[in-house]
């Protein structure tokens, strides 16, 4: 696996994936724990597991499972938006040992549907092209979904900007009216006050 990062024993590390609806997300991870005696990361740590939690944009938990030290998880989004994928190890034993850390290798693939390589090899050339073309069509559907999602977001963005614009206009008018009426009230109030004090 490619990229890795470090995490504390009980620390939760999260990444954000902003994806359209009906998208398959597949993640591969491997976790290693630090061995104080060997001053290195163990190749595999028995008993070490990883809680993978995926939260959908409206707050509901889509996936929450305990996997082993190495594993693959996947989920399909039913809503478009920011999905949060969190990793937390299940170790309760090493909590007291200071300086304990974990190395988490991670690889996340969004929107890919894996090509069944074996199905391609078995058939002849024409079928191979067929299978690849079907895969290509699926990928292009994903592009379309991303574009639809982009359209949704741009609309939300435009609404926010227009709301800001009308907010500014409305508040400017309101404040001007308040200013004028308060000014009139001030003068009237002071005039009545001075008259009552027989200064005017």
């Amino acid at each position: 696996l490619a990229l890795y990062f470090h995490s504390g024993e009980r620390e939760e590390k999260c990444i954000i994936e902003d994806i359209p609806t009906d998208t398959l997300v597949v993640g591969n991870y491997k976790v290693q724990s630090w061995d104080i005696h060997k001053h290195g990361f163990l190749e595999s740590a028995p008993g070490l597991g990883m809680f993978v939690t995926v939260t959908s944009p409206n707050g509901e938990v889509v996936l929450s499972k305990l996997y082993g030290p190495q594993g693959t998880f996947s989920f399909t989004s039913h809503l478009s938006g920011e999905h949060i994928i969190c990793f937390q190890s299940n170790s309760t034993r090493f909590a007291v040992i200071a300086g304990s850390k974990l190395r988490i290798h991670l690889d996340i693939r969004v929107g890919e549907h894996f090509l069944d390589e074996s199905a391609i090899q078995a058939k002849d050339k024409v079928n191979e092209v067929n299978v690849r073309l079907e895969h290509l069509i699926e990928q292009i559907h994903h592009v379309t979904r991303e574009q639809d999602y982009e359209r949704e977001r741009e609309e939300k963005f435009r609404k926010t900007s227009e709301e800001t614009n009308s907010n500014i206009l409305w508040w400017a008018i309101v404040q001007t009216l308040i200013l004028i009426s308060v000014g009139i009230w001030q003068i009237k109030s002071l005039r009545d006050f001075f008259i009552s004090k027989k200064l005017v």
Partner: protein
């Protein structure tokens, strides 16, 4: 739409990449490491999507700990490098200069050049068939689509974040200013009235 046709046709062969979006809390640093061979081309693109002044510190270190790239308070950047040493390369994003704004940072770390989609495209004797050259064209165009979509998605996310922040600020300050307006104007009248209201027994002629 990450590594579209490439992964489809070839699986991961030498080239690869990771793109992640993460939240960087204030005064925090997040580091990522990858083991690389020498002579590989790596590219790191990053962009801050939301938070504060939309900037972040970033540095990249080679296996010997030497800093090969360092920038402070950048909003987005792209960094390419040909690795000379084999070993673990580290890149880190730091929000340590910020005390209260957490940032959302997107980065794309590409390793290796993309191999051609047809395995023996460059060194075969005959010309490509129509089907094969159509495939190559589709592949190149889809790569352009991926890049374009990612670019626009990030820009839109950042602009929307700014617009929402602006909207919030306009609302709060409008309400605040209205309150201040009331407080100050009523206060002025009360204060002025209090100047002419003597509480001392010996009046200074201003009453009666």
């Amino acid at each position: 739409v990450r590594s579209l046709l490439l992964a489809a046709l070839l699986g991961a062969l030498g080239a690869g990449g990771t793109e992640l979006t993460l939240e960087l809390p204030d005064s925090a640093q997040r580091c990522f490491h990858q083991e690389l061979e020498s002579g590989t081309k790596i590219t790191l693109d990053y962009q801050v999507i939301s938070g504060g002044h939309y900037d972040v510190d970033c540095y990249v270190e080679d296996p010997n700990g030497k800093t090969i790239y360092q920038e402070t308070k950048k909003q987005y950047d792209s960094f390419s490098h040909h690795t000379e040493l084999k070993g673990v390369y580290t890149f880190c994003f730091s929000n340590e200069f910020s005390t209260f704004s957490h940032k959302i940072v997107y980065f794309d770390f590409q390793v290796g050049d993309e191999p051609p989609i047809l395995p023996d495209m460059n060194n075969r004797g005959t010309a490509l068939t129509q089907l094969e050259s159509a495939c190559v064209t589709i592949h190149e165009m889809l790569n352009a689509v991926i890049d374009s979509q990612t670019h626009y998605r990030l820009r839109e996310a950042q602009d929307r974040s700014r617009a929402e922040e602006l909207n919030g600020r306009v609302s709060y300050w409008s309400v605040g200013e209205t309150l201040i307006l009331f407080v100050v104007s009523i206060g002025q009248v009360v204060l002025l009235k209090s100047f002419f209201t003597e509480k001392r027994p010996s009046s200074s002629g201003a009453g009666t």
